[in-house]
């Protein structure tokens, strides 16, 4: 690590000396008026060198490439020095200028590659800023050296100092890699591959992606404007410095001083401010810092074309830009899909920057003839406005890019099946028809249901056709699908089938005919009531209750069926009651209640199950005596269907018992049971009650609250209420995180098994409460985006998780975004407990008390157990 810092420090010092001497020698010995021409040439050279570098940089180990690069640079610098010192060759100054510009660009890119090939992703994330800080300190030292030595050593002799530093770099790199071997993550590329061609293909892919991606498009436009704006600023500041300082020594010394000031400022910003500002305001806001500060620089220069304005300009381009603009731009690139990131960068370096330099050089060359800085400053200011505009567009495109990237990677379950099927058109319809015609009965029924739901008009002839030759049980189900569609001639068809059907199917047909109000079936009720078969008798009872509600005889027969010792007869009776759909007090008054209740204790599970189903249709508050029975049925079974059935009967209890029962069921582990429970809450002020449950009482587990929240969302609860809920949940998550931190900081109790279990439970709760917050956010923000964030943060892929975090940070509601992002960062890092910035809990006991006082049964149980053991200890 120390090696990397020192190596970059040496390279940084050399670059500072190079920068100062290049500018001073070129301005004083060749003429600043040629600077625009240099920009034009630089644009062309950058295109060539960047393409060449991209094609060949990974052919050699990066340390070897560094050695070659430094050696070439030393040779060129020595040649330049010889030309300056002994031959007074005038054109060597623009050559030296170009050598520096190209070398600084290539060294900058190669330094990043060298680090990447020596550190893994996690190390790189942590150590790169420290290593780059080393380079910055080197620049400060180099600047200081320039300021002190230029008047004494002579500017051109400083080239040799730079040479020595480059040579020192070669020694360091050779020494280090002799000890450690090749760069750890360097792999030799495939031989014979046409790298130049590949490099051009990569750039063209980046160009094509511009059409598809708003982010790449606007960031390229922004970069184009930024380069022009930057070089106009640079040209302007240099003109002022050149006019102010008359000798090349004083100018070089001043450049050294400026380097010290600007780089020190940049270092302070990078170490202490940049990350905090990005965390606090988000990258979208920070992305606007540099355009804004550039605008101020231009205004300064327009109103005062003098040294103070030039210094402000230098601070802007050499401190603000590296501290805020460069890191933010890298973060913007991270939003792009992996395969495009490198290509988009290559496209920027090879195409956008050279093109912008050509334009900038051309504009400056033309405008400087007018001999009034106001012209090029005005152009710069206008382009800064464009730059700011494109940055704003980039900000908009940023979240969209992350969301579209996440959408490609994550699966989001949705309830769009029917819409998708319908939009599938004729192809899907044909597939459904084939499914209905399938020989397997279960497949046929499943397809028939979907067909009837999605294409009801077209379904009838297909279903009727499928009835031909179908076995009895399939026909039975197909009839039930067909009847709600009520097609023409169905009555006739049903009667035709009735003649040939078995008893089971006859019962179904008869009941369907009663439902359709068929006169022939109604007139036959009397005859069927005395039929020896209990099924047909039950069907007649059904018809009688539907169409002749005052006929007491039907009820007598129904009671007889329910009292029968034959389970088949009892089940027929119960089925008849259930198929009525709604059992009002008029019907119940005819049923022998005491006997009916006895059916709930029947040893035949089919009978008590069917009884429960019937009770779910019973009038409200009509069977309060069933409270114990229902609670037992609910608590003693592992079958979610039975628990669901029990909770659907809750309305027959007294209102207090019903409420308690429902609240208990809201916490059930099965979602269908919870949904049934919530559907029973019919409080007129339910929105207020539910909101109060979630916000004030914090009732039940997150699972309970999630069910309640879904209900509120279905009911169309106003946005401000959902916002309050989201905020309350975010704050709750913050508190849970504080409890976890407090417990983790008490190492003495952390090994106790109950505390360990509690920490697990708290971590799960934290995850669930964050999920609840996001669920509430769906009513405030774009649902798809929140769905993607939810899926992304649960994903085990860290890149996707961090992209989801970034999307979360950039949602509209910034208040919530900041709270959630802070919590989630700790949660995703899942590292050791961090120090508490605010001491919410004074002790572990205090934190446990907080858990015990929650209305969350599981957390309460865990916390009580942990408290008990800690007290014993």
């Amino acid at each position: 690590m120390l090696y990397f810092i020192l190596f970059f420090l040496v390279i940084g010092s050399g670059m500072a000396i190079g920068r100062g001497t290049t500018d001073a020698l070129f301005f004083k010995r060749y003429g600043i008026e040629y600077l625009p021409v240099m920009y034009i040439i630089l644009g062309c050279l950058l295109f060539l060198t960047s393409t060449f570098y991209a094609a060949f940089s990974d052919r050699l180990p990066p340390e070897k490439f560094f050695r070659i690069l430094n050696s070439i640079l030393i040779s060129l610098l020595v040649m330049a020095w010889v030309s300056m010192s002994f031959f007074n060759f005038k054109h060597i100054y623009p050559v030296y200028f170009l050598i520096y510009e190209i070398a600084s660009e290539v060294l900058l890119i190669h330094a990043a590659l060298y680090l990447a090939k020596n550190l893994d992703v996690v190390q790189a994330k942590r150590l790169t800023p420290i290593v780059l800080a080393g380079s910055q300190i080197g620049t400060i030292i180099g600047g200081l050296f320039l300021a002190l030595s230029a008047p004494h050593l002579g500017v051109q002799n400083l080239l040799l100092v730079w040479c020595m530093l480059l040579f020192l770099g070669i020694i360091m790199i050779t020494w280090h890699h002799k000890r450690t071997g090749h760069s750890l993550y360097f792999r030799h590329p495939r031989k014979h591959s046409n790298k130049m061609k590949q490099s051009m293909i990569d750039i063209s892919v980046g160009m094509k992606y511009m059409k598809k991606s708003d982010l790449v498009r606007y960031s390229s436009f922004a970069l184009f404007c930024m380069v022009i704006v930057f070089y106009i600023l640079s040209y302007t500041a240099n003109r002022i410095y050149n006019d102010t300082f008359k000798t090349e020594e004083s100018l070089t010394a001043f450049f050294g001083l400026v380097a010290v000031i600007t780089n020190s400022l940049a270092l302070v910003f990078q170490l202490f401010i940049t990350n905090r500002v990005i965390q606090r305001f988000g990258i979208k806001t920070v992305n606007l810092f540099f355009p804004f500060s550039t605008m101020i620089s231009y205004l300064f220069l327009i109103f005062s074309f003098a040294l103070p304005s030039a210094i402000v300009t230098s601070i802007n381009k050499d401190s603000i830009m590296p501290a805020f603009r460069n890191p933010v731009r890298s973060l913007f690139y991270n939003a792009l899909p992996n395969y495009i990131q490198g290509r988009a960068r290559a496209m920027s370096v090879v195409v956008v920057i050279p093109l912008a330099l050509l334009v900038c050089g051309g504009v400056l060359w033309t405008v400087q003839q007018m001999n009034n800085p106001l012209y090029f400053l005005s152009i710069g200011l206008i382009l800064t406005c464009f730059y700011a505009y494109f940055n704003l567009r980039m900000n908009k495109a940023y979240v969209l890019e992350i969301v579209s990237n996440l959408r490609n990677k994550l699966y989001i379950p949705g309830k769009h099946e029917q819409t998708a099927i319908k939009s599938g058109g004729i192809g899907i319809f044909e597939e459904l028809r084939e499914g209905v015609e399938h020989n397997d009965d279960q497949i046929c029924i499943a397809y028939a249901k979907t067909l009837a739901n999605t294409f009801p008009e077209k379904a009838v002839p297909i279903l009727i056709e499928r009835l031909q030759g179908a076995i009895s049980s399939t026909r039975n189900e197909l009839f039930q699908i067909l009847v709600p569609l009520n097609p023409e001639k169905l009555h006739g068809y049903l009667w035709q089938e009735f003649g040939t059907a078995d008893i089971h199917l006859q019962t179904t047909i008869l009941k369907q005919l009663f439902k359709l109000g068929d006169d022939r079936a109604i007139s036959g009720i009397e005859q069927k009531l005395i039929d020896p078969n209990p099924r047909l008798r039950a069907a007649a009872i059904y018809g009688s209750i539907l169409h002749r509600p005052d006929d007491i005889r039907a009820y007598e027969l129904l009671n007889a069926l329910l009292k029968s010792d034959d389970p088949g007869e009892v089940l027929s009776g119960l089925e008849t009651l259930y198929e009525l759909g709604e059992i009002d007090s008029k019907i119940t008054s005819h049923i022998e209640k005491s006997h009916f209740i006895k059916l709930l204790s029947n040893s035949n599970s089919r009978i008590w199950n069917a009884s429960l189903r019937v009770i779910s249709l019973w009038p409200s508050s009509s069977l309060p005596e069933l409270v114990q029975y229902l609670k037992n049925a609910f608590n003693t079974t592992n079958e979610p269907d039975v628990r669901s059935q029990a909770i659907r009967c809750a309305h027959v209890l007294g209102s207090d018992d019903e409420h308690d029962f429902i609240v208990a069921a809201l916490d059930d582990s099965h979602p269908l049971v919870r949904e049934d429970a919530i559907n029973l809450l019919k409080d007129e002020n339910q929105k207020e009650t539910f909101t109060s449950w979630i916000i004030d009482t914090n009732l039940g587990s997150p699972r309970t609250q999630s069910t309640i929240l879904s209900k509120l969302q279905e009911a169309g609860t106003p946005v401000h209420i959902m916002e309050n809920i989201a905020l309350a949940k975010a704050l709750d998550a913050e508190m849970i995180e504080q409890v976890i931190i407090t417990l983790k900081n008490h190492h003495e109790i952390l090994d106790l098994a109950p505390v360990e279990l509690l920490v697990y439970a708290l971590q799960e709760r934290l995850e669930q409460v964050i999920d609840l917050t996001l669920q509430a956010l769906k009513s405030i923000e774009d649902t798809t985006t929140i769905n993607l964030i939810q899926a992304g943060i649960k994903c085990s892929d860290k890149r996707i998780a961090s992209q989801s975090m970034e999307a979360l940070r950039n949602i509209e509601n910034q208040k919530l975004a900041i709270i959630l992002a802070n919590i989630m960062e700790g949660y995703l890092a899942s590292g050791p407990a961090k120090a508490q910035s605010i001491q919410t809990f004074r002790s572990a006991e205090h934190a446990l008390d907080w858990c015990s006082n929650r209305h969350d049964p599981w957390l309460k149980a865990c916390a009580n157990d942990a408290s008990r053991v800690i007290t014993q200890e």
């Binding site: 582990s669 699972r703 098994a753």
Partner: protein
């Protein structure tokens, strides 16, 4: 700490059940049966059909690929929290190894139909099982590599 809480903690630390929340592990824990084995006992034999998987509460169990009872070569030795015997509950094939108790052990056993029911109810269990099988495959690859 009550027995059920201890079981939950044990399950939470085992690879198969680690993805299930502690709250849901309450239900899972209730489905498990206690079984006690002594040193030298064989929990199951290679090539036999079985309908239970096991979680080691304490003690040590060796997994051997040999059918010979005298053989004491073990491909792996399992400790507290480790699961074994789940493979044939999923593929309905005979046991692929013999499990021998090396130190007196308390096991929690889960019957096949209950496991299937639990998987239907808590799909996260499948992820845990996949993780555990993947680990086992890695170990097998490592052993194969070492033996070459």
């Amino acid at each position: 700490m009550s027995d059920i809480f201890e079981r939950i903690l044990l399950l939470k630390k085992s690879p198969i059940f680690s993805e299930v929340t502690t709250e849901d592990l309450r239900t899972v824990a209730m489905e498990l049966d206690d079984e006690q084995y002594f040193k030298g006992d064989r929990v199951f034999e290679i090539n036999n059909y079985g309908d239970h998987m096991y979680i080691l509460q304490n003690g040590k169990v060796g997994i051997s690929l040999e059918s010979d009872p005298k053989c004491d070569k073990y491909v792996t030795i399992l400790n507290q929290g480790d699961c074994f015997g789940e493979m044939n509950l999923l593929d309905d094939q005979p046991r692929s190894a013999t499990a021998v108790v090396l130190e007196d052990a308390n096991l929690l056993s889960l019957e096949k139909s209950r496991l299937h029911g639990l998987i239907m109810h808590y799909p996260e269990l499948s992820l845990g099982i996949l993780k555990s099988l993947s680990m086992r495959l890695r170990n097998a690859n490592l052993l194969a590599k070492e033996s070459k």
